[in-house]
């Protein structure tokens, strides 16, 4: 994949930060508004895909590192399963923080309400864990497939 024109690169520079922030917004508000870990993670990963195609694969390798992504992915999944394990006092996946008064533990007003970030127990934690996993995972997929495409093209030319 070659570097694209200067217009594309400049627009990418302008936009990708906003895309990432929007993705994290979706992840963080998963328990209040439409969205959640998967959707937000996919949005963040699309920012990486944008960087990859506008800067070309070789240049993008300088700031997108597969090893870091792979570490983040494992961390996200481990965090997810550890949160599930923490409920093991009662059952696996027990929502031990909901309505407890501590972290994310406010009582929610039944019925229609404007929404409170500090509710829903382990759901926000799991959203963050899954968001981390999904954006790192999709990032790895995109980078690896770009590598593979480059390799097959090289073989075609030779």
């Amino acid at each position: 994949m070659k570097e694209m024109s200067k217009i594309v690169r400049n627009v990418t520079n302008l936009v990708y930060g906003f895309i990432i922030i929007f993705g994290f917004y979706i992840i963080a508000h998963g328990h209040l508004t439409p969205g959640g870990g998967f959707q937000g993670g996919a949005v963040v990963a699309s920012a990486f895909a944008l960087l990859l195609i506008s800067y070309g694969q070789l240049n993008a390798k300088k700031f997108l590192n597969i090893n870091i992504f792979s570490l983040l992915e494992s961390c996200g999944l481990t965090m997810f399963i550890v949160v599930a394990f923490l409920g093991l006092g009662t059952t696996f996946f027990y929502n031990f923080l909901a309505n407890s008064g501590s972290w994310f533990g406010n009582m929610v007003i039944p019925g229609i309400n404007p929404g409170d970030m500090n509710t829903a127990g382990v759901l926000p934690l799991m959203n963050i864990a899954v968001g981390l996993e999904v954006f790192a995972g999709l990032g790895i997929i995109v980078l690896l497939m770009a590598d593979g495409a480059e390799f097959t093209k090289k073989k075609e030319n030779s």
């Binding site: 508004t33 439409p34 998967f38 229609i112 404007p114 593979g148 390799f151 097959t152 075609e156």
Partner: protein, 115 residues
């Protein structure tokens, strides 16, 4: 019959997917066929959850006094969409690997897949 129109759309999706898998001999087209079936099934699940005149099942600033659509199919579809992404990614990588080894993505030119 006209009330069941969304289900007809679903089976057209699935039927097209199966047709592609059976009669097309190109790896990328086979991947597209699988995506079509997957979209059909996702559409089917979402269709099951619809309730006439209802709103999305989210309480944050929802319009008052209206019923909500069934939430379970949405959760199931979310799961199956992510699984679909994973399937597509894996099948395309395998197609790339086959292209690397044989220089073609036509099934007829690859030895074992012919049968």
């Amino acid at each position: 019959m006209i009330g069941n129109f969304p289900y007809i759309a679903v089976i057209i999706f699935i039927g097209l997917g199966i047709y592609t898998l059976m009669f097309k001999r190109n790896l990328i087209k086979i991947a597209i066929g699988i995506c079509l079936i997957e979209n059909g099934v996702n559409l089917f699940l979402i269709t099951l959850g619809f309730r006439k005149g209802a709103v999305a099942p989210i309480y944050t600033l929802a319009p008052s006094g209206q019923s909500m659509v069934l939430p379970t199919p949405q959760a199931l579809t979310l799961t199956s969409i992510v699984i679909g992404i994973a399937t597509t990614a894996l099948i395309l990588s395998i197609a790339m690997m086959i292209y690397k080894h044989y220089g073609t993505i036509e099934v007829n030119e690859v030895r074992r897949l012919r049968g």
